[in-house]
Symmetry: C2
Subunit: 207 residues, 2 copies
């Protein structure tokens, strides 16, 4: 098969569904390149600038919006998050797949800007389990947890805009399913199928 | 998630691409139920009536066409092949996936009858490799092999009607990819997405 452009995968899901962990596992196992987002929020423990996020000031972030540098950007809990456009486009052109770990609103913006993007929604097994996970983090106040659960339900209501859903009950199974989705997308018969047929036709003529 | 109807997968590919072997491996590993076709051709060595095919007389076959019992049927190299409709529909209703190992023309008939069917095309790595495999069987005359290669190219020209393609270079990899396609199809956000959202909404209200 001829060399193809890379595919853009968007992985979203309510806070606490483990989409970040799913994405890190994917990175480890299949070495797809992640796009690194820009954010104005404070780094959490262990997060590295340029790897987990580009941590910037509000001023720098606003300059980037002004310059049209984002594929999508959003305010989440008073912090700004955005996906630099040039890195994504550049990688796709080089035939690499790109995975975006972004929230649902961002996913919809990306789908609008690049309709060929494949959107995957990570679901918690239940809201009760989601609550347990958020409480288990121990980093959130009770009030913030309620806010996140309400937000989770609002995000789930938008699942119809997504292409695939993966229930993250068992992490390994969830990661395996996302990998399958990526492989299956790569096996789709392309809209412009002529090049595929031509390879076999040319070979037939060469006899 | 609510219990779903099964999915119908059609696996096609030119004679000699190994689609039969791919299908047997799938059956072994994931226990999906196969539909058993009816045919008028002679059993090959090791083939079992009721498992590989229902081997019937031409007269019985024609009676079944008359009775509208086939989802698709076709004449291939002077033999009749057909897929009994009732077995397929019955299994899908019970929530089981069904795999049909049929030729390209049959696949197109199935897609017309059941547009929700997922069509997977098994490709040989090259026509030269396909020739080697056909010759390796040692069961075909040189003339028949030429006929099959011509037929193969005609079938490949119809790949645009299929949903996915899998190049069968390494058998294990081909089987793994087909399994991924089946898993990914099961992870697609359904058109009627309300039931999925409702589960989470109901849970939220129960608090």
């Amino acid at each position: 098969m001829s060399r193809k452009k890379g595919r853009l995968f968007v992985i979203s899901g309510p806070s606490g569904t483990g989409k970040g962990t799913v994405c890190r596992e994917l990175l480890k196992e299949i070495g797809n390149e992640f796009s690194v987002s820009m954010t104005t929020r404070e780094p959490r423990e262990g997060e590295v600038h340029g790897k987990d996020y580009f941590f910037v000031t509000r001023e720098t972030f606003l300059e980037n919006i002004e310059a049209g540098n984002f594929l999508e950007h959003a305010t989440v809990f008073d912090n700004l998050y955005g996906t630099p456009k040039d890195m994504v486009v550049n990688r796709l052109e080089r035939g690499r797949n790109v995975i975006l770990d972004i929230d649902v609103q961002g996913g919809l913006q990306v789908k609008k800007a690049m309709p060929e993007a494949v959107l995957i929604f990570i679901l918690p097994p239940s809201l009760a389990e989601l609550r347990r996970r958020l409480e288990g983090r121990g980093t959130e106040t009770a009030e913030k947890i309620e806010k996140r659960l309400g937000q989770a339900l609002n995000e789930i209501r938008l699942i119809g805009e997504y292409d695939y859903y993966v229930v993250n009950d068992d992490l390994d199974e969830a990661v395996a399913l996302v990998k399958c989705i990526m492989a299956a997308e790569g096996a789709k018969v392309p809209e412009a199928v002529r090049p595929v047929i031509r390879e076999y036709e040319n070979e037939s003529k060469q006899k």
